[in-house]
Structures are given as structure tokens and as C-alpha cells.
């Protein structure tokens, strides 16, 4: 297994299969009365978050704790980072404290890659700039696999702010690797010109795409993008790119609806749509813990000596 998880592209199809298979066993652990196994007793996992992300950090924290690892949460506010410490010095400090894994979220694309050259610990990318969010893609693949027998030929649309979305990039690469077909849907301003090179199709007509989908994946739209003039108004965005009840009716009966969270109810997804049984958004959260347990187990449960 890989030492660092920096990008979904570094994983082979077999690696993804192994991670997801192992995650199934951890999913079962999450249903036990005692949701904890001793697999990583004595290992130390540091959550190093330069951007706020409560859900991803909690998910990693729970994953590590359910494996009996010790967890240190290092957030930048109120720490040495706010006193001007560089990433390198922070990394070397964590190294000196004996961290076995560093989970990093950073606003700069490539920060986890750089970090991986400074430390002997395993580095897990928990989102870097507009680059990638590989553990989100893996938990999405796991959730998709719960509903469909195979990724081969599976049709997925990612709808919304593709340009600024590391989730969209990782999931597109991941689905393409597993044999699925991805269509990126959104206004031209929010789809980067190089998107076709990711192995995905591009569409600016959501209603034309919906009837052919197995998975409809809605992205969170950040309201400040409107101020940056990527779209004229939130209401218009919602009307053109939001998943309304009427649009859900255009989906095939077997299609599922996903969202990486946190949701803007009433903007990219209608509130009643988010609560439909086929909206598997809370499953994604539950599966996220299992997939992160799987990664930590496979990456740290080895002899590096």
C-alpha cells in the first residue's frame, strides 16, 4: 500500500478496491456496541488543519480513535502558526513529537506533497486548495458501490462549482479510474477550460443530463462566488443549477443523489430533495469514517523499519 495519500491519481484500481473492501469491515465495526478495535494502538495521528473543516476533521478524528490511535488536533488559530511559524517548522515539530500520520488540510494546492518530503510520517491529504480531496472521493466511491454492482459504465454528473472544487477533481479522477462516466455540469464560468482533459464530459444543460444518470452529485456553491461575479444571483443559480423536486422526477428511479456537505438547502439542493430516501448524504458521512479507518489501517498497520 502507498505511504502517503496525496492524490487519488496515485492509486491503482486494485488499491481502490482494497481500500473499499477493507472499509466494509470497518463499516461493520461502526455498528457494534463497542465501536473500537485495537488495530492502531500506540500510533499517533495528527490532524493539521490550516482551513476550518469541522466535518472532515471530526471524521478523521473518529476514524483514528476507533482504531485506538492517539489523536492530536492542531488547528492554526491559537497555535504557533498564528505566531508566524512556517509549515516546515510545524511539520518538523510534529515529526519530533513522533507523529505516525499527519492529516493535513491546507488552502494551498500541493501543501501535502511538500509536507511529505519533510517528514517520515504518512501524510494524508484532507483537501489542498483547489487541487484534491482524495478521501472524499474514496468515501463517495464507497457509497456509490453500496448502490450499484459495478462502476463500469456508471453515469455520474457533478453539478455546480467545478472550478473551485477539489471534490469534483478527485471524484472525476476516481470514477474515471474505476470505469465510470462523468459529466461535469454547471455555468461556463464555473467549469475550468481544462476540465475535458480530466476524462470527463462537460454540459451546460442540467435538464438534458438528468434522465441518463445513475448518480447526481451536487456541489456546495459558495455565496462569495456571486460577489466574484461567477454567477449573477443566488436565485438564478438555484433556478438553473439547483436540484429541485421537479428535476428529481426527471432522474431514473434507481438514481441516487449525493452531496459532500455542508449543504445550502434551497440553493444547490431543495430542502425536501435533501431528505428523500434516495439522497444518501448521511450515508456518505457514515461511510467517511469507515473509509478513513481503512486508509489509516492500511497505511499505518505496516512495518516501515
Amino acid at each position: 500500500m502507498i505511504k502517503h495519500l496525496l492524490s487519488i491519481t496515485q492509486l491503482s484500481r486494485e488499491d481502490v478496491g482494497r481500500i473499499l473492501d477493507t472499509a466494509e469491515s470497518f463499516r461493520e465495526v461502526g455498528t457494534r456496541v463497542i465501536k473500537k478495535v485495537p488495530a492502531l494502538r500506540g500510533r499517533t495521528v495528527v490532524n493539521l488543519f490550516y482551513e476550518n473543516s469541522t466535518r472532515t476533521r471530526i471524521s478523521f478524528e473518529l476514524a483514528a480513535k476507533r482504531l485506538s490511535a492517539d489523536v492530536i488536533n492542531f488547528s492554526t488559530s491559537g497555535s504557533s502558526v498564528s505566531k508566524g511559524e512556517s509549515l516546515k517548522d510545524t511539520a518538523l515539530t510534529l515529526q519530533a513529537m513522533g507523529a505516525d500520520a499527519i492529516v493535513i488540510r491546507h488552502s494551498s494546492s500541493g501543501a501535502p506533497y511538500t509536507l511529505s518530503h519533510w517528514v517520515s510520517a504518512s501524510v494524508l491529504n484532507a483537501g489542498d486548495g483547489t487541487h484534491e480531496h482524495p478521501t472524499q472521493a474514496l468515501l463517495d466511491l464507497f457509497t456509490i458501490r453500496e448502490h450499484f454492482p459495478s462502476f463500469e459504465g456508471l453515469r455520474l454528473a457533478i453539478v455546480g462549482d467545478i472550478r473551485h472544487s477539489r471534490v469534483a477533481r478527485s471524484l472525476t479522477f476516481g470514477m474515471a479510474k474505476m470505469g465510470g462516466e462523468v459529466t461535469l455540469v454547471g455555468p461556463p464560468t464555473l467549469i475550468p477550460p481544462e476540465a475535458t482533459a480530466w476524462g470527463a464530459g462537460v454540459s451546460h444543460d442540467l435538464d438534458a443530463v438528468l434522465p441518463k444518470l445513475d448518480v447526481c452529485y451536487m456541489l456546495r456553491v459558495q455565496r462569495e462566488r456571486q460577489r466574484q461575479q461567477f454567477f449573477p444571483s443566488v436565485r438564478e443559480y438555484s433556478r438553473l443549477w439547483g436540484l429541485s423536486r421537479t428535476r428529481v422526477d426527471a432522474l431514473p428511479d434507481t438514481a441516487v443523489i449525493m452531496h459532500p456537505g455542508p449543504m445550502n438547502r434551497g440553493v444547490e439542493i431543495a430542502s425536501d430533495v435533501a431528505d428523500l430516501p434516495r439522497a444518501v448524504i448521511t450515508d456518505q458521512v457514515t461511510n467517511g469514517i469507515a473509509v478513513r479507518m481503512s486508509l489509516l489501517y492500511l497505511m499505518l498497520g505496516v512495518d516501515r523499519a
Binding site: 473492501d21 466494509e24 465495526v29 456496541v33 489501517y297 505496516v302
Partner: protein, 200 residues
């Protein structure tokens, strides 16, 4: 995708890289051993009313299912059967180049106030059973735990013994004992041999 289509892929024991030296048990002997152990379980526990079987993956679960159907034939009672994977409880995680492969765990019943009979194919160092007991108590508090194995090959490293043994087989420490079951391997047999050294 995580299908359990029969015949399942053999996991855990690799058939390749194994030089067979002798066959210790054939299908009829395995069948008689399972039948005898089923009788012994019923005798010792005065029936099957509060007995559950938990097989250790892989192959212990297949043996547990066989024991359950024997018990049903003898006593007319269907005892619950669970499967337990002990990977996360192993004491050698982090000591190999690859993390140990994980199997499925499925214990769909509450065994509080029951006697849990752990079922495994081979009893060797006892470390698997130590891990299994640790795993089991995370699911509940059984009234007691007993151990049934098809083969006891000796060389214990922990103070553990089996309550029910199909056959005691004296072995050398460096030998390998393989239990093959029709459900997984296409035949019933217990063979002893040597692990072939993989070229470095």
C-alpha cells in the same frame, strides 16, 4: 460488489508456495470428527439451548456451519452461527510489510448469557484465539467461552487449550498444517507440508 458467491476465493492460507508432505485427515474422518464434536458440545452443555457458535474467518466459519447442521440433526435445534474476523485484534499489526488482509465479521445475535463456542480450523500458537476472545467481548459478555478446533498441532505460545479437538497432530514448528474444506477449497482434507521459501 462484495459478493459471497460460492465457491469463494481461498483467503488466508495460500495453496501456492506449499509443498505437501502427508495427508493427515480425509473427508470421511473430517466428517466423523465434526459429528463427534457436535455430540461433545451437546453433552458438555446439556443440550443446545444456550449455545451459539462463532467461527473464526476463514474456514472456522465453515466448520461452525457444519457443526450447527450436525447439532440440528442430533438435537433438532438450530443454533445461531456467527463469523468473526480477528485481524484488527492481532498482536503483529505493524510488524509486516503489508497490513493483514481483513475478512468479514457478522454476529447477528446477542450472546449475553449464552455459551459461545469459538470454532477454528487449526490450533497452533494460540494467538488467534487470544485475539478472538478480545474481539468477542467487544460484542457482549458471554456466560462462558469454549473452543473447538479440527486440528491441534501443538506449539502453544499462550496458556490456551481447546475444549473440543478433532485430531491432535504432532508437528514440527516450521511445518505448515492446511485444512482444506469443500466450501472454500473444493475438497475436504487436512495436509501437512512445508512452506516453500519465496525467492527474495
Amino acid at each position: 460488489m462484495a459478493s459471497n458467491d460460492a465457491p469463494r476465493e481461498p483467503r488466508g492460507v495460500s495453496v501456492s508456495g506449499f509443498a505437501e508432505r502427508a495427508r493427515l485427515l480425509e473427508a470421511p474422518e473430517i466428517r466423523r470428527s465434526v459429528t463427534r464434536i457436535a455430540h461433545e458440545i451437546l453433552e458438555k452443555n446439556k443440550g443446545a439451548a444456550r449455545v451459539v457458535l462463532v467461527g473464526i474467518a476463514a474456514r472456522g466459519d465453515d466448520l461452525a456451519r457444519r457443526l450447527a447442521s450436525e447439532i440440528e440433526q442430533i438435537e433438532g435445534v438450530r443454533v445461531p452461527v456467527g463469523v468473526l474476523d480477528i485481524t484488527f485484534y492481532r498482536d503483529d499489526i505493524g510488524m509486516r510489510a503489508e497490513a493483514p488482509e481483513v475478512h468479514e465479521t457478522r454476529i447477528g445475535f446477542d450472546f449475553t448469557d449464552s455459551t459461545v463456542v469459538l470454532v477454528d480450523d487449526v490450533l497452533f500458537t494460540g494467538r488467534t484465539i487470544r485475539a478472538a476472545m478480545d474481539a468477542l467481548v467487544d460484542f457482549g459478555r458471554p456466560e462462558s467461552i469454549q473452543l473447538a478446533v479440527l486440528v491441534d498441532r501443538g506449539h502453544r505460545e499462550l496458556p490456551i487449550r481447546a475444549d473440543y479437538v478433532g485430531k491432535n497432530v504432532p508437528t514440527r514448528r516450521d511445518e505448515e498444517v492446511q485444512v482444506r474444506l469443500a466450501e472454500v477449497d473444493g475438497e475436504d482434507a487436512v495436509v501437512v507440508g512445508e512452506k516453500e521459501r519465496e525467492p527474495a
